[in-house]
């Protein structure tokens, strides 16, 4: 146990994912020793992110403006949309450099246990986009979990009647793992070898 403010920071840091007690201590003492300005910049960055971040009005990616940079990019193919559970999944797919379409963030996966039904996810907005944007193919890149699979099946059942092709990433993703951990080459291959649903 340390004196008041130091301990308070350690407590806060150790609540972050992947940060244990020891790492939290190390980080706190590191911040105690850096320049005042550096510490202030970190604190400000956290505050700014919370105050200024918005979700893209089109795809629900995180952005600083009305629409995200991917949706604004005219070189992107609007006919192809990659459907993901969370905004951080976009980064993973982007790293493969195999995909030149746009995205749609559902905001999670179907899970009765977690209290998530279709009404809690951005399906209605996806339906609307299919009508408005000339989308021809949906590539579903939900996580390879039971919930992610069910969500993909839901997309297929609901969106195929609207006249779009629905495909799912081929195998090559770690089963039960997050898209986050898939290495780029494997994921790139899974994108190229996607399967019709």
């Amino acid at each position: 146990m340390f004196e008041g403010p130091v301990q308070r920071l350690i407590d806060e840091l150790s609540r972050l994912p992947g940060i244990g007690r020891k790492s939290a201590q190390r980080l706190a003492f590191h911040l105690l020793n850096v320049e005042q300005a550096d510490a202030r910049r970190l604190a400000q960055a956290i505050m700014d992110m919370r105050d200024q971040v918005k979700t893209c009005a089109r795809c629900f990616n995180v952005t600083g403006s009305e629409e995200c940079s991917i949706c604004r990019d005219l070189r992107r193919d609007p006919a192809m949309v990659c459907v993901v559970e969370r905004a951080q999944d976009i980064v993973v797919v982007e790293k493969t450099q195999e995909f030149r379409g746009r995205y749609h963030v559902l905001g999670g996966a179907l899970s009765p246990i977690g209290g998530v039904g279709p009404g809690q996810l951005h399906f209605a907005e996806l339906r609307e986009r299919i009508g408005n944007e000339g989308i021809e193919e949906l590539i579903v890149a939900t996580n390879p979990t039971v919930e992610g699979d069910a969500t993909a099946m839901y997309v297929a059942r609901e969106m195929k009647p609207l006249g779009v092709r629905v495909t799912r990433l081929a195998s090559g993703l770690p089963v039960g793992g997050d898209l986050d951990y898939a290495d780029e080459l494997t994921l790139g291959r899974a994108l190229v070898g996607r399967q019709e649903m």
């Binding site: 899970s111 009765p112 069910a150 059942r157």
Partner: protein, 305 residues
């Protein structure tokens, strides 16, 4: 056992198998989760351990498998499947998860279920059930001859032991193709949709099936003698060992946890005579009851001597 003044107990063991040896360490803290290390590294997931250690455990209440409800026999077959193919564990977990999701959906919606959502969980559950069912059937096929053989040797009379399977949706131990099984269950789920919605749970599927044995045509659960039931329970464990040994080329560890005290002398001797060649651990409260010989470790007031 965690010592009085200790924070944690660590169990360490070296396991030899066809691919080499692994050092397995399990840390059991006073509170919180157990931690497992394989060769000093945390396995990616706890199930990775299944590929490193194989063991067949005899328990005093193995008789439950024969005498009690269908869940004990399902668990037995599914457990054998995991010994034979560690990946079966993932199939079982997936099935369990999909089933819990579907049941939760049925419970939540007060009669007002979104049909597409239900259809999606039907589909996902059927897929998982198909894989689970094929593993279960494969395990049964791998075991069957050995159960008959070991029973005969233990009982010293020719006996007709059969494994049957009762299912209300068309599940069977003949299953070989997961896709086909999934299709059969998917159709059954559509038929049972009304009943499931009313009862708010999944009334059909491998989680409700009953595997059962007969001894010379009599139901082992209700119409076999106590002696026949015990012999059958032992046969199941011995048959598991043989089947796993044959399939993997590795002789699983044997753990006999206080088993001999439950057996009469004849059966105890018969079992001792039939134990396969394997590293074997026997635990007992009374050493004179154990008809096998080996090194003895005594546990006295919390320490091993």
């Amino acid at each position: 056992m965690v010592g009085d003044r200790a924070q944690a107990a660590i169990v360490r063991g070296e396991v030899g198998h066809v691919h080499g040896t692994s050092l397995i360490e399990v840390e059991i803290p006073r509170s919180g989760r157990r931690r497992v290390r394989v060769n000093g590294q945390r396995p990616g997931r706890s199930t990775d351990l299944l590929g490193h250690v194989r063991g067949v455990v005899f328990l005093p209440d193995d008789l439950d498998i024969i005498k009690r409800g269908p869940v004990y026999r399902r668990r037995f077959l599914d457990g054998v499947a995991v010994q034979l193919w560690p990946g079966a564990y993932l199939d079982q977990q997936e099935h369990e998860r999909a089933l819990r999701q579907r049941n939760t959906l049925l419970r939540q919606s007060g009669g007002e279920i979104d049909q597409t959502t239900l259809a999606v969980w039907d589909e996902r559950l059927s897929q998982a059930a198909g894989k689970l069912m094929v593993r279960r059937a494969d395990a049964a096929r791998a075991l069957q001859v050995w159960i008959v053989e070991t029973y005969e040797r233990l009982a010293t009379v020719a006996t007709d032991i059969e494994l049957h399977y009762t299912s209300n949706w068309g599940g069977s131990l003949e299953a070989t193709a997961a896709d086909e099984v999934a299709g059969v269950l998917a159709e059954a789920l559509i038929r049972s949709r009304r009943a499931d919605t009313e009862r708010r749970l999944t009334t059909m599927g491998p989680h409700r099936d009953e595997p059962w044995f007969t001894v010379d045509g009599r139901d082992a659960r209700t119409r076999a003698s106590q002696g026949e039931q015990r012999t059958l329970a032992l046969s199941l464990r011995l048959a598991t060992h043989t089947a796993v040994h044959r399939a993997t080329g590795e002789s699983p560890l044997l753990l006999l946890d206080d088993v001999f005290s439950e057996l009469d002398t004849d059966r105890a001797d018969a079992l001792a005579g039939m134990l396969p060649e394997a590293q074997t651990f026997v635990t007992t409260a009374r050493q004179e009851e154990v008809p096998v010989h080996g090194r003895t470790f005594e546990v006295r007031s919390g320490s091993i001597q």
